[in-house]
C-alpha cells in the first residue's frame, strides 16, 4: 500500500506562517486570564555566598503587591533530587529556586515579587534590599583547569570519548609533520528572540494549565508534577509556538518553577517573564579549552590524533556534551587518544546550545586539520579527502549512509575551489585580503521513540497530533506534508497539533531528531488509519475494491483508487459512510530499530566553504560568500530545510566573528547582558548563503529516510570562516570570536 508522494520532497511554505506573521500565534507570555498576577524575578548580585537578609518591607508597602516569595517564606516542594531532574538533566543535584540562603551563581533568582500588574511587580522588585555574606568565587576556567576531572556519572545520551586506539603519543612523537595547539571559544548565550516565560492559568480545584516556553511540554509536565507533587491529570502544559530556543528550552527554566509555585500558593493565575538581562542567567555554551595534536606523514595522511577538552560546569551538576569524539569520527587514523574532562566554576550549569559539543570540537579539529594542510603543503580540501573514513572507527560500525565525499565535490564545484591560490595572503584585491576556507561537519542522526495520533473525520479532514514542539524549525509543516501523503489528502485538509502535554508522547524537540521521530510516528499513525479505511472501503456495498489487495490501491485526492484502473475508486467519505464511521482514529509509536542501531552509525555530514575579505590594515572581516553542501538523507521540504541550514550558518558566523559573553571574574558575572553589547550578527554581516542538499539514500537511519537538519548547519561554519581568515591574512586565530583586535596586523616596523 505504498502511496505516491505529492508533498514529501517538495518546497512548501510554512503552514503556521500566516498565524505567525499576523500575530495570531500566541507565545507563552501572551496568554492571559482574568485573575492574572505578574511575577518579577530578583537576581543575585554575587556569585557565591549566602543571603544575610532581604528587606521586603518597602516593596510590600507598594499598592498592588500580592506576595514576595523568598527562601525564607517559600512553600514546601519535593525533597529528593530525582524529583527535580528533568528528561535531559545532566547528573547532579538540579538547582532549586529559592531553596535556601545559599548563592551558587551570579544572577540566581533569590526572590519573586508578585503583583497585580507587571510594572508594579518590577517597581516593587527594585525596592528590595538584599544583604549578602559573600564568599570567594571561582568563575575563570583557565584558573580551575588544574582541578579538571573525568565525570564519574555519565550524562544519558552523551557518548564519552572512545577508548584509545593504537599509541597516539608514540605515533605523534614519530610523525614527520606535527601540529599541536590549544583552541578556545568564548561563552555564548542562546538569546532566542522570545524571552523565557511561563503563564500559569489557575483553573480551580488545584488544576493548572501552564503556557511554558519549552522545547518539550511533557518534560515540563514531569518536572511540575514531580516538584510540586501534583497529579498528571491536574496539570496540562502547552507550548504551541516557541520563539526560538536553540537548546535553552530543553530543560524547564527557573521561571517555570516560580510561576507554578506562586500560582499554587496564591490560587490564582500567575505569569513570570524573564527580562533580556535575566536571559544571561540561564545555561550557556560552556567555556571549553581544547588541545588538538595531529601527527601526519609528509603527504598529510594522519598518523596520530590527540584531542583533549576541559569544559566548565557548575558546582552542582556535571553537564556533558560530545566535544572530542568527532576527531576520530571524521577521519581515518590508527592512533587516537581523546579525553574530556570537567572543571567546576561558580556559574549556572551550562546548557545544550545548537549542535552542543560538536561546534566546539569540530572548530578545534577542523582548524587543526587546516593547519596540518599548510604544514604538509597539501590543499585543505584534498587533505580531508585523503583522510576520509568510510566507517565509524569509534564504534567499529558502518554508516547507514555517508555522502560527505559528494559534499566535498559538489560544494567545491559550486564555490569554485579549484581557482584558489594556495598561499596565505595571495588573493589580494586592493586593500582587501581575500581568503577561502573549508571545513567538514558532522552530527548524529538520531531517532527517538515517539507516539502520534491520526484522526480522520467523515468530512475528509485529517488531524495528526504528537506532543513535540516547533521551535521555528518547520515541524508543523513537515508533519502536515507527511500526513497528507500517507492518506492522499491535500495539505489544506490536514491539521498538525503539537505542543500539548495531553497529546501522545514525544521527547523534547532537540538533537535534530524531530523530523525522523515525530515524522515517522505520524506516518505510522496515518498508515494505521489507512488500513482501517481500506478495510471499510473494501467492505462497502458494491465496492470497486471488493477484491483488491492493499498493494493494489492508492490513496489520491481523497479517493482510494485501483492502481491498475484509476477510474475505479471509492471516496474516503463514502468508505467511512458505508462503515458508519464519523471518525477514524489510530495511535502509533515509532521506535528506532535496535538491531540496525547495533550494526550501524547514523550521521549527517556537511562540507562548508567560506570566502572572507579582510581589510589589510584595520583587521575588519567581512564574510562575502558561503556554500554549504549537506548530506542529510531525504529532504522533506527543501524550503524549510534551507532555512534550517541558513540559520545554522548564521549562528556559526556569530560564533566565529561576533558572539561572546564577557565574564568579569572579579565580580563572577557576565557583563554584556543585552543585545546591544552581546553581538549577534546583523543583516549586514550575513552574505548570500548557498545551500546544497546532496543526494543521500538512507534506508536505515529512520523509516522516513531522513536524518535531521537542526544542527548540521552550524557545525563546520566557524572553522570554515576561521580557515578563510587564515588564508586571507596568514594569521591563525585559535580563540573565537575573531574580533578585529585579534586580526590587527603587527605594527609597522620602526613605530613605537
Amino acid at each position: 500500500m505504498a502511496n505516491g508522494e505529492t508533498y514529501f520532497g517538495t518546497a512548501r511554505g510554512r503552514v503556521d506562517g500566516p498565524a505567525k506573521v499576523t500575530g495570531s500565534a500566541r507565545y507563552a507570555a501572551e496568554f492571559a486570564a482574568a485573575d492574572l498576577a505578574h511575577g518579577h524575578v530578583v537576581s543575585a548580585a554575587i556569585a557565591k555566598g549566602r543571603i544575610a537578609a532581604i528587606e521586603t518591607a518597602a516593596a510590600e508597602a507598594v499598592h498592588g503587591v500580592l506576595r514576595i516569595f523568598t527562601h525564607a517564606n517559600r512553600p514546601g516542594t519535593a525533597w529528593r533530587d530525582a524529583r527535580y531532574r528533568d528528561e535531559v538533566a545532566p547528573p547532579g543535584s538540579p538547582f532549586r529556586p529559592l531553596h535556601d540562603a545559599k548563592i551558587v551563581f551570579s544572577g540566581q533568582p533569590i526572590a519573586l515579587v508578585v503583583a497585580e500588574d507587571d510594572a508594579t511587580a518590577r517597581y516593587a522588585a527594585s525596592l528590595l534590599r538584599v544583604r549578602y555574606a559573600a564568599e570567594p568565587h571561582a568563575t575563570d576556567l583557565e584558573r580551575q583547569r588544574g582541578q579538571a576531572y573525568v565525570p564519574r556519572r555519565k550524562r544519558t545520551g552523551i557518548a564519552p570519548p572512545p577508548k584509545p586506539r593504537g599509541d597516539a603519543q608514540k605515533a605523534f612523537d614519530a610523525a614527520p609533520v606535527r601540529i599541536d595547539h590549544e583552541y578556545r571559544v568564548a561563552v555564548e548565550h542562546h538569546n532566542p528572540m522570545e524571552p523565557h516565560a511561563s503563564t500559569v492559568i489557575w483553573e480551580g480545584d488545584g488544576r493548572i494549565t501552564v503556557h511554558d516556553k519549552i522545547q518539550g511540554v511533557q518534560n515540563s509536565l514531569g518536572y511540575i508534577t514531580g516538584v510540586f507533587g501534583l497529579s498528571q491529570k491536574n496539570v496540562r502544559v502547552l507550548s504551541p509556538f516557541v520563539g526560538g530556543a536553540f537548546g535553552s528550552g530543553l530543560r524547564p527554566q527557573y521561571q517555570l518553577f516560580l510561576a507554578v509555585m506562586a500560582a499554587l500558593d496564591l490560587k490564582r493565575s500567575v505569569r513570570v517573564e524573564l527580562t533580556r538581562d535575566q536571559m544571561f542567567t540561564l545555561g550557556y555554551r560552556p567555556a571549553t579549552i581544547q588541545r588538538v595534536a595531529l601527527g601526519a606523514a609528509p603527504d598529510g595522511t594522519l598518523q596520530a590524533i590527540l584531542h583533549d577538552a576541559i569544559a566548565g560546569t557548575s558546582t552542582f551538576e556535571d553537564y556533558q556534551e560530545v566535544v572530542v569524539n568527532w576527531s576520530s569520527l571524521l577521519y581515518h587514523c590508527d592512533n587516537v587518544a581523546l579525553t574530556y574532562r570537567l572543571a567546576q566554576i561558580d556559574t549556572y550549569t551550562p546548557a545544550d546550545m545548537r549542535a552542543p559539543g560538536a561546534t566546539l570540537g569540530v572548530f578545534a579539529l577542523e582548524s587543526a586539520i587546516d593547519e596540518l594542510a599548510y604544514a604538509a603543503g597539501v590543499d585543505p580540501l584534498e587533505i580531508r579527502r585523503r583522510n576520509y573514513t568510510r566507517t565509524d572507527e569509534n564504534e567499529g560500525k558502518d554508516f547507514t549512509s555517508k555522502e560527505l565525499m559528494e559534499c566535498y565535490r559538489l560544494g567545491a564545484e559550486r564555490f569554485g575551489w579549484s581557482r584558489r591560490s594556495a598561499a596565505p595572503r595571495s588573493m589580494r584585491e586592493g586593500r582587501e585580503l581575500v581568503g577561502w576556507g573549508v571545513a567538514s561537519g558532522a552530527w548524529e542522526a538520531m531517532m527517538m521513540k515517539t507516539s502520534a495520533r491520526a484522526a480522520l473525520t467523515a468530512d475528509g479532514r485529517l488531524e495528526v497530533a504528537t506532543a513535540t514542539a516547533d521551535i521555528g524549525t518547520g515541524t508543523y509543516t513537515i508533519l502536515t506534508q507527511i500526513a497528507a501523503d500517507a492518506l492522499g489528502l491535500p495539505m489544506e485538509s490536514v491539521t498538525a497539533r503539537i505542543g500539548d502535554s495531553a497529546l501522545p508522547h514525544s521527547p523534547v524537540e532537540g538533537g535534530s531528531w524531530t523530523a525522523a521521530s515525530a515524522g515517522s510516528a505520524v506516518q505510522a499513525a496515518c498508515r494505521a488509519v489507512r488500513e482501517k479505511l481500506f478495510s471499510a472501503a473494501r467492505a462497502a456495498e458494491n465496492s470497486p475494491l471488493a477484491n483488491a489487495d492493499p498493494s493494489h490501491v492508492r490513496f489520491v485526492n481523497g479517493r482510494i483508487v485501483l492502481a491498475a484502473d484509476p477510474a475505479r475508486f471509492i471516496t474516503v467519505a463514502d468508505a467511512m459512510r458505508a462503515a458508519g464511521l464519523e471518525r477514524l482514529e489510530e495511535e502509533a509509536t515509532a521506535s528506532p530499530d535496535s538491531a540496525t542501531q547495533k550494526r550501524y552509525s547514523a550521521y549527517t555530514h556537511s562540507a562548508i566553504f567560506a570566502e572572507v575579505r579582510v581589510d589589510a590594515q584595520l583587521g575588519v572581516v567581512r564574510v562575502t560568500r558561503i556554500v554549504n553542501a549537506v548530506a542529510a538523507g531525504r529532504i522533506i521540504n527543501p524550503r524549510t530545510a534551507r532555512s534550517q541550514i541558513i540559520g545554522g550558518v548564521v549562528f556559526g558566523l556569530g560564533m566565529a566573528l561576533t558572539e561572546e559573553s564577557l565574564p568579569d571574574h572579579a565580580l563572577g558575572r557576565f557583563m554584556n547582558h543585552n543585545l546591544g553589547e552581546y553581538h549577534i550578527p546583523v543583516n549586514a554581516d550575513v552574505p548570500a548563503i548557498d545551500v546544497i542538499f546532496v543526494d543521500e539514500h538512507d534506508d536505515k537511519a529512520s523509516p522516513l529516510g531522513v536524518k535531521g537538519l537542526g544542527e548540521i548547519g552550524i557545525v563546520g561554519s566557524a572553522a570554515a570562516i576561521a580557515n578563510a581568515v587564515y588564508h586571507a591574512t596568514g594569521t591563525r586565530v585559535r580563540s573565537l570570536p575573531m574580533t578585529l583586535d585579534k586580526l590587527l596586523p603587527e605594527k609597522p616596523a620602526g613605530r613605537a
Binding site: Q617, L618, V620, R622, H673, V682, D685, D741, L744, R751
Partner: protein
Amino acid sequence: MNRFAYLRPTDIAEAVRAIAADPSARFIAGGTNLLDLMKYEVERPTRLIDITRLPGLDAVEETASGGLRIGALVPNADLAHDPRIAARYPLLASAILAGASPQLRNAASTGGNLLQRTRCYYFYDVGTPCNKRAPGAGCPAIDGVNRIHAILGTSTHCIATHPSDMCVALAALEAKVHVAGPNGERTIAIGDFHRLPEDRPDIDTTLAHDEIIVAVELPAEGFAGHCTYLKLRDRLSYAFALVSVAVGLAMDGDAIGRARIALGGVAHKPWRVPEAEALLQGRPPTEESYAAAADRLLAGARAYRDNGFKIELARRAITRGLAQAASGTPQSQTDKRIR
C-alpha cells in the same frame, strides 16, 4: 522602572520652569536611551517632562552666517536625509547613518543624541559598583572587562566612552549648541559641551540641570568635498564604535589647507587635538603627514587590560580616514567595504 509623574509643557519657558523645580526630573524626547536606563534602574526620575510638543524646535533653518540651525527635536533620520545636510554637511549625515538602526534614528532627536549616556557595561548593571551612577562607589571597569573603554582623557574614577556618532561629526564641524535656561539663552561650543570624567564622572556635559537644548548650529564650512566618517566596530552595523574618526579637510591645491579630525569611541567626549590638525596644514596628503597627525592626536593614550589595541587601531583609522577625505572618497555607510 520607578513610578514617575508625567507632564507635557507647551512652551520652552514652562519646560525650563518644570525641570528647575525638580532636581530629579528628566526631559524626554525620543526616549531611546532614557527608557532603557529607567528599565535598568540606572535612571529613576521622579518626573518626566515630555518636550516633544514644544513649538519651534523641529526645523532645519538657514542662518545669517551661511550655516544651518537644527532644532533640538529634529529626528536623527530626518536630519541625515535633509537635502541641505546631505549636500553641504555629508560628514554629519554619514555619522548619523553610521549609528543605531533605522527605527532608533526615526525616534531619536538631535538634542537627545547629544545627551546619550555611555554604554559601559557596569554603568548599566546596578548589581555592580559604578562611579558614574554613584560617585565614590568604585569603578570595576578600570581593572575589568574594558575592551570597549577609553584610552584618552580617562581618570582614576572612570574610563567610560561617549557613545554618539553624530557628536563626533559635530565636533569636527565645530558646531554650537544653543541652550535655554531660567536666565535666557546661551551658546556652548560643541568642544565644551561634553566633559572628561575627572572626579565627577556622574556629570557628562556642561549643560545645567535647568537648561534645555533648543538647537544645534552648524557653521558655514561643511568640508563637503573632502570628508569622511569611518567607524570600526564589532559587527558591520548596529554596534557602538570601538574607534571612529570624523575628518573634514579643506584642500589647498595639492596640499591640505585646513584639517579637522575628531575621534569617537576613545574618550568620554569626542576627541579633538587642534595641534594635530595644525600639523597637517600645508602638508601634502601622504601617509607620512597622516602618521604625524595621528601620533599627536593619540599622545598620552593609555592602554587598560583589554583595550590596548585601540591605540594602534585609532592610529590606522586616522590614517585611513585622512586618506579617504583627501581623495574625496568618503566611507559609504551602506557598502561595508572600507575604502
